[in-house]
Symmetry: C2
Subunit: 464 residues, 2 copies
């Protein structure tokens, strides 16, 4: 892997060039492909070895293959924001039959990318690896037997991983033509959120007019997609939980009843309005919230579990929180389901990799709705690849309303200097926060000790 | 409760009259209602006491109220076929607001009635109680505020219990007008089986073209209904398990692949044809079959659990079999559901009592399909109320193809004599079977003893 393991934010174009040159002199010219090939998409992984053995059309190596390079984000290990680094990959990736090469414009950030960075997402191959499940861009080359895509086509791409880089190679079945009028931002914001929301609401949920739906994280990527899809059905009541500052936006977006889960008991709030319960509960939280969701179901109600956001607390993995969420994981007996006339479903797009037909059908339906103006991804903010840490922080600290996008467009020099300054401040800030935490803990421990002492005192008194 | 606790098959009209007269002389004329009122439907149960306190329109008692009597099947206790007895109830049931009185023509027998007789069905009130969840008939009287039904209307009725008698009183919301051209047999065969199959396939299952469905007990009431409903959707592949003798009929009825579960491993058979698995599994069996069904699901597949037929073995409750089925009951973690993209649903019509709107919608859809000629209940056989034991035996011994119906039409004298003879033979037959079982067990035990002896011998040899 070429490129250096420095935090993305700190790496400027000058440095990159230097590194590149160093790498080029170090790396034997005969083997650039293995050295610098991007992480292969899973669809082609199995045929990899075979392809390498076949000399055929790639045998006469074009000089371009040596000079071809592109920037890529790489997860270098599990941990905090700085574990995702901007690197330069070298060598033109080989195109197998049925594959296309895409020059990436925009990438989507997903909650799973935060989980993945902490080692909590099982569908990302082990580091070092390029994360990213979706992007948009323009087709730059097509492999043999590709008839449904041509150079210049604008596409959006959905893949298990490897999308956070300037150039990606994927099976055509993982690409979808962008409809007229769709921006690259929108295209990168659409695949994961809308396919997920669509299959949950309409396949598992079988949403119909007059029904009621609970959407957690209603101001997030999936949340806004789900709300918009609910609105395509007549008279659906949407309960949406989100931090209070986002309520106005999501109300306008279609949430009927907004609930600030941080200050209120959402179960109580829902029961007040809908004493009989709900038809569909979408549960991205896991742990004790799955139990709550299940108990909120009406007869013939459906709970769709599709995440464990509750496992995430802070920048680095918090083992206590992970263990607690895990321990509280929901399990159910058929007897309970039968007596309640309920359904519990699990959804994971990452495990639908090979279900190309299913995904294509859902995508076609979603695209149709986009063309009719019934759905439209809401972009929260766009970051340069260099700023991936900031992007992740924004989501982690619960500040986004809608989708966070990464753009491959290079950062301007002045922007970079600005960033470097901000970075320093952020680091100081983080340190302060850490120190405060430690301080608080000390105080807390001291208080506990005091309390223990008091209790002992109390006990003694009682004894006498 | 009037009437005597003799097995239904043995009770002839003569005896009934005698009993009736005896009862009439014993029972004080002032309180016939409490003595002989039919088991109230659950919808009115809670208002019962209040109604009895209110003298209002029923205060001036018509003489008819004393002489009014009707035959009713009554479950007198848990056990074998003879626990359901034909009795005579006396006194005209009071009609509350929103209720209608129906003169019953035909009743449907359901698998749950077999379970109920053994004390394995929790939605039937404790004995003595009149079982039966569905019937068809003609409206004989309407209560106050009833505007959507009139005397003379032909209706089918769906209720939690109490339908196996000549006269029933239910809330109008539990009655549905029979479409033109529907026979009373069909009308009594339709509610439970078709509403169950409809909600499972289309609400939980969200069945769509090109999908595949596993239907167990495919030649039974629900099985045939489900098969017909599958056929209303394009290119659905139906796997149906049933005893071999029924395969021809169910093939003609629309089952694509018939499987004799008694001689073959159905999981293997299905995997051979559908290696990727199934979209929907309807599971009325419970126990280990639920696990098998779950493992047969494709991504986005749905398992609907709706019964525990495996608990039933023989005429009387078999505690070992019950415990085993119970012990093997399926339970699932959300993690497994998420990783498999699967859904597990539980369905129980008996717990949808108060969901009148939901049921009405499903019934309307089913009636529409009937009118279009797309579904048609298949009647296996029709029995007199006196023959309820035979009817149950036919289902229990796995001989029915389609629905078993009970008719309220009185039996002719010669028929009764025939029956009495057959009954004697059956009893002898049952005794022979019992004796054979005992004999077999003795032999078995003897063999086991022999084997143990051999093993001991063997062990001794090895020791030396
Ligand atoms: N199974 C699948 O295939 C699949 C696919 C896509 C997404 N998902 C799941 O869907 C959920 C939403 O994903 P997304 O990508 O659209 O993200 P998102 O909703 O944009 O996530 C960010 C928001 O989540 C809320 N939140 C709740 N708990 C949080 C926590 N512990 N840490 C940080 N933020 C938290 C915060 O908003 P508020 O405070 O305003 O609520 C935050 O702004 C995630 O659980 C994700 O794993 C699953
Ligand atoms: N949850 C609900 O709301 C609901 C509503 C209706 C029915 N159900 C369930 O659906 C299933 C079918 O009910 P149904 O009323 O339509 O009955 P049915 O299918 O007509 O039942 C009789 C048939 O079941 C098969 N069978 C399988 N295991 C059996 C056993 N242990 N004992 C006797 N027969 C057995 C036999 O046929 P083969 O040998 O040919 O298979 C037999 O002919 C039952 O499990 C019932 O509890 C549930």
């Amino acid at each position: 892997m070429s490129g250096e393991d420095a935090p993305a934010q700190q790496q400027n174009a000058e440095e990159q060039k230097q590194q590149q040159q160093q790498q080029e002199s170090k790396t034997p010219a005969e083997s650039p492909k293995t050295e610098s090939k991007p992480d292969p998409p899973p669809s082609s992984a199995s045929t990899e070895a075979a392809a390498a053995d076949t000399p055929a059309p790639a045998a006469e190596k074009a000089p371009e293959e040596d000079t071809f390079s592109y920037r890529a984000l790489v997860l270098t290990g599990y941990g905090g924001y700085d574990k995702v680094k901007l690197q330069v990959k070298k060598g033109k990736p080989a195109l197998k039959s049925g594959e296309v090469m895409v020059r990436v414009k925009m990438c989507g950030l997903n909650f799973a990318d935060l989980m993945a960075r902490q080692g909590l997402y099982d569908r990302l191959p082990s580091p070092p690896v390029t994360p990213g499940m979706e992007c948009s861009g323009i087709i730059e080359a097509v492999g043999e037997d590709v008839t449904d895509r041509k150079v210049g086509d604008k596409v959006l791409v959905l893949n298990r991983s490897g999308m956070w880089q300037e150039v990606v190679v994927v099976a055509t079945t993982h690409t979808f033509l962008m409809p007229e009028g769709m921006s690259f931002e929108e295209a990168a914001a659409l695949p994961v959120n809308y396919i997920t929301a669509y299959l949950m609401l309409f396949d598992f949920g079988h949403l119909r007019p007059n029904q009621s739906v609970l959407i957690h994280m209603a101001a997030g990527g999936v949340g806004i997609a789900a709300t918009q899809l609910c609105k395509t059905v007549n008279d659906v009541t949407v309960f949406g939980t989100a931090s209070a500052s986002k309520h106005e936006v999501i109300s306008q977006g279609g949430v009927t009843h907004t609930i600030d889960y941080r200050t209120r008991d959402y179960v109580e709030e829902i029961r007040k309005i809908s004493p009989k319960g709900l038809d569909i509960v979408l549960d991205p939280l896991g742990g004790s919230d799955t139990h709550k969701g299940y108990n909120l179901l009406k007869p013939m109600g459906k709970l769709v579990s599709y995440g464990a956001a509750n496992m995430l607390a802070g920048q680095k993995k918090n083992l206590f929180v992970v263990a607690k969420t895990w321990y509280q994981q929901f399990s159910v007996h058929t007897l309970s389901l039968i007596q309640g006339n309920r359904s519990v479903c699990g959804f994971h797009l990452g495990y639908l990799d090979s279900e190309t037909e299913l995904i294509a059908q859902a995508m076609a339906a979603v695209m149709d709705l986009y063309r009719q103006g019934k759905i439209k991804p809401r972009i929260d903010s766009t970051y340069h690849l260099e700023q991936v840490g900031d992007a992740m922080r924004r989501m982690q600290e619960r500040n986004n309303i809608g989708k966070i996008i990464l753009t491959t467009e290079p950062m301007k020099e002045e922007e970079k200097k600005e960033e470097a300054k901000k970075d320093e401040e952020k680091k100081k800030d983080d340190k302060k926060k850490d120190d405060k935490k430690k301080e608080d803990k000390k105080k807390d421990d001291a208080k506990k000790d005091d309390k223990k002492a008091e209790e002992k005192e109390e006990a003694k008194k009682e004894e006498n």
